[in-house]
Amino acid sequence: MVILFAVFLLTLLVFTAVAIIRTTNLFVAVMLSGIFSLLMAANFFILDAADVALTEAAVGAGITTVLFLGALALTVEREQTVPDGRWVSISVVVLTTLVLIYATFDKPRLGDPDAPVHQHVAPWYLGQTPELIDIPNVVTAVLASFRGYDTLGEVFVVFTACIGVLFVLGARQENSQSLATPPISNTHGLRHHLIPRVVGRLLIPFIVLFGLYVQFHGEYGPGGGFQAGAIIATAMILSALLEGEAQALRAVPRSTLLGLIVVGPLLYGAVGLAGIILGGNFLDYSVLAQSSVSGQQLGILLIEAGVGMTVCGALLLIFHAFASREKL
């Protein structure tokens, strides 16, 4: 029965995707992307991926929309239609779709317990996590410990992307006076809208609290550094929307955010190096404490904190980079 729900949601997903591509109004496309993200999260949840659904919720519900709207505000909202060469692309795409669908007939059906993907390391992870790490959430265990090296790489990608955005957008605009006071057009935010302001102010502490809960409860339920970073960043973005860009930067200055994105990966790397110094391997947390299990738990706690700091700082810096730029 639930699988029928999934089928229905997937069908809606296809309609949404086609509509996003067909509309020429970019604002509408961004709004429909919001629906796309919601459908995606519901699908992930039905397919037993609670952690992934929480990530999609944390990122897709606020940050994606805000970033795309920020970019639209700086560019244009309509695309021009260029009809030439359209049929070639359509035929290429339809042909490839048919080939891909033909290829799926060799795949094991959804939920097949004998599928090759379930035979390799997954049973080992599921079987060994209670013994080696002793935390309920296997996803967190795999993310932070068994595949910690991989996650380190991802954290550095987020870091690098953020640095890239700062390089591209942080440069001084020709018409602005000085770098020290970046031009801020929307100093007021939504300050004269009383209702959003009151409700938003009431909710911001709760969102931050929920973010911290997700961060530190990640070993026991769905959550972890990636989700928590995105949720806390959403809270700060909300405050920037309500109180204006300048006020938000006064509350959490740029230097703090830069510190966050620097300290996050460094903390992650330092935990890895501590493993080497204490006689283990890189990112081997077993040697961090008296017993191997509590060492693993300590290591996971620390690197999740590093991930959370990096993601939160990076997303906020990206947001401020877009929001404080003036349209030419």
């Binding site: 296809v14 397919l47 999609e56 990122v59 959804l110 959430n137």
Partner: protein
């Protein structure tokens, strides 16, 4: 539910190619980026579809429940990190588009090419 056993993969193929169409056929750079993120979401869907096990539940081990089947945690880990990385790289793309708009005054591909040719 044999009938729908492969439905997820078909939807994956259609969404993937919908996103790809935007990347190859649309001239607007922001539209291309939206297409790219749809493409990316399709890949997420493919991975998450593979993690499902019949009768399974999310891989968060419940105390006191024995003989519970859990879904595969590995694809979830890969996609969890990929979502956050995806939004940061999309933001980088958007930043470049904003700079292109500031330099060329347009974000339509053919107009940029024309400006390049004339300069």
């Amino acid at each position: 539910m044999e009938l729908f056993g492969l439905y997820n993969y078909w939807v994956f193929a259609i969404i993937l190619m919908t996103g790809f169409y935007a990347v190859i056929a649309k001239g607007n750079l922001i539209k291309k980026l939206i297409g790219l993120s749809i493409f990316q979401s399709a890949v997420f869907l493919l991975y998450i579809s593979m993690d499902k096990v019949d009768g399974g539940t999310a891989p968060i081990i419940q105390k006191g429940v024995i003989d519970q089947v859990y879904s595969n945690p590995l694809p979830q880990v890969l996609i969890l990190t990929a979502i956050v990385v995806g939004i940061s790289t999309t933001a980088l793309g958007l930043a470049i588009v904003v700079r292109i708009k500031e330099s060329y005054g347009t974000i339509e591909e053919h107009e940029i090419q024309e400006l390049e040719r004339n300069s």
